[in-house]
Symmetry: C2
Subunit: 255 residues, 2 copies
DNA sequence: CGCTCGGTTGAGATAATTCAAGTGCAGTGG
DNA sequence: CCACTGCACTTGAATTATCTCAACCGAGCG
């Protein structure tokens, strides 16, 4: 597979010119295979590279002093992270694989050079930041104002939607998700046993099947239970004409 | 007051050169005064301008079909919003004033031109985006994995911290916050009556006073109850050398 | 003066948690 | 091939945090 997951995802909304695509595939990088449960970035770690998930799933997470864990987001093929390496030295959260993963890392400087030479890429990254913020906000709503079954349903639907965008899944295919009860619990702010109970009842309703891997049977009912609305993913977004704009060149900084 | 709240805030981490500051104050804009409770942006609205809170407080919020409300974030003097107007036409959430506000709006195109001519500004905006994402993530942790008193304490501390950064408050001054029980409840995902009860008990503990406006008496105890840690605000951030980077120029896009 | 609105407080209901025991499957070693 | 162990999941029962409903209070305002 020479088609990069990252590229595939970006192409959803920006058509990247040939030279840009070429430059992206030839940029200096490291491709690492990592087993499940391995930490990619630790909280407080100094960031020196930008990463792209090539295969597999990972999570962003925060751990409180007493061990409580909150999953902030799921990362799947094509997702880029640690863009903030470009201005900020330390990560405020950790990143960990939850399946076998292939992760590509690009040194910050190389990445910046790439972006500066390929404007369409800058615009694409800006879009991906907007989308990610939307996802974070929706996660707040999910956890803050929805009950157990709504939270879980809403999460599952988002994940499928994003999986389809990443081109790792087809729309009709009944996607199977690599999620344990514990992961779901820490993502939506419930206890694992309550998640288990809730999923059991969803199974009884014929919404999902859960022998081994979790599999959704009825996306439509799920969406209506969850009150799901795509808008926050900004799938309709089209880049504005940014000609001649946003040239982050030299900086005049002190401190 | 010729010193712009936005400028003041940006100066926290990037020193903007004189010409940049001059350009910022002379950019074409509209300055609006709005009473409390007025909507600045509606969910789904097409975004055409970038906004800066000059005075007062506002909230980002989402309303579910059945009326449940989730406050996503608070906006205070110096906060900029709708940067996403630059690529995306529709807002996925609403913005509403919660005090008397002064809001400055700049047409997207003018703003883009400003940024493109003043690289230090681009770097500053990138920082502010990173900070905002950090705030969103911390809000997820707050709502997902903390109990009532922790949520409320943590929120209050963050707000004070940001208020100090915005230079609308002094560090020693015992800040008074324009928050109703209902607002706090919708921010941290609780019912207003439970918030009221929790605050009552905080008052009994000598942590806050709440005659009329809410006022914190003991920040240190509050911080230790909340398990508060500044890291996510990235106050230590220093812009990297982005020389020659991120030139979002022409785009090669198709639909 | 009488309203309205935010806040407080009580009592009962409910959603979710904790603790604990039990099930079933996958992997390992004999 | 079978037993043994570990681990994720399930289920029950008791507990707790939070919610809802409802009454009441007090300040601000026409």
């Amino acid at each position: 597979m020479d088609m990069d997951a990252f590229l595939a995802r970006l192409q959803n909304y920006v058509t990247l010119p040939g030279p840009t695509r070429a430059a992206m595939s030839s940029v200096r990088h490291v491709l690492r295979q990592m087993p499940r449960g391995k930490s990619i970035i630790n909280e407080g770690e100094v960031l020196k590279r930008v990463h792209v998930i090539q295969k597999g799933w990972a999570i962003r997470k925060r751990i409180l002093e007493d061990g409580r864990r909150q999953i902030l987001n799921f990362l799947m093929p094509g997702d880029i992270f640690d863009l903030q390496a470009m201005i900020d030295s330390r990560s405020d959260h950790a990143i960990e694989t939850i399946t076998l993963c292939e992760v590509r890392s690009i040194p910050t400087q190389e990445f910046l050079a790439l972006v500066s030479e390929h404007p369409a890429l800058a615009s694409a990254l800006w879009w991906s930041t907007v989308q990610e913020e939307g996802i974070l906000r929706e996660h707040i709503v999910r956890v803050g104002r929805r009950n157990a079954i709504e939270r879980i349903s809403h999460l599952l639907i988002e994940l499928r939607r994003r999986l389809i965008l990443s081109e790792s899944a087809d729309a009709d295919e009944s996607v199977s998700l690599p999620l344990s009860r514990q992961l779901i619990a820490d993502a939506v702010g419930l206890s694992p046993v309550h998640v288990s109970r809730t999923i059991s009842s969803m199974r009884r309703m014929g919404l999902v099947s859960a022998n081994g891997h979790l599999r959704v049977l009825d996306w439509d009912s799920l969406a209506s239970i969850a009150g799901y609305d795509d808008q926050y993913l900004h799938l309709d977004a089209r880049p504005l004409d940014m000609t001649g704009c946003v040239n982050v060149g030299d900086r005049e900084t002190t401190a």
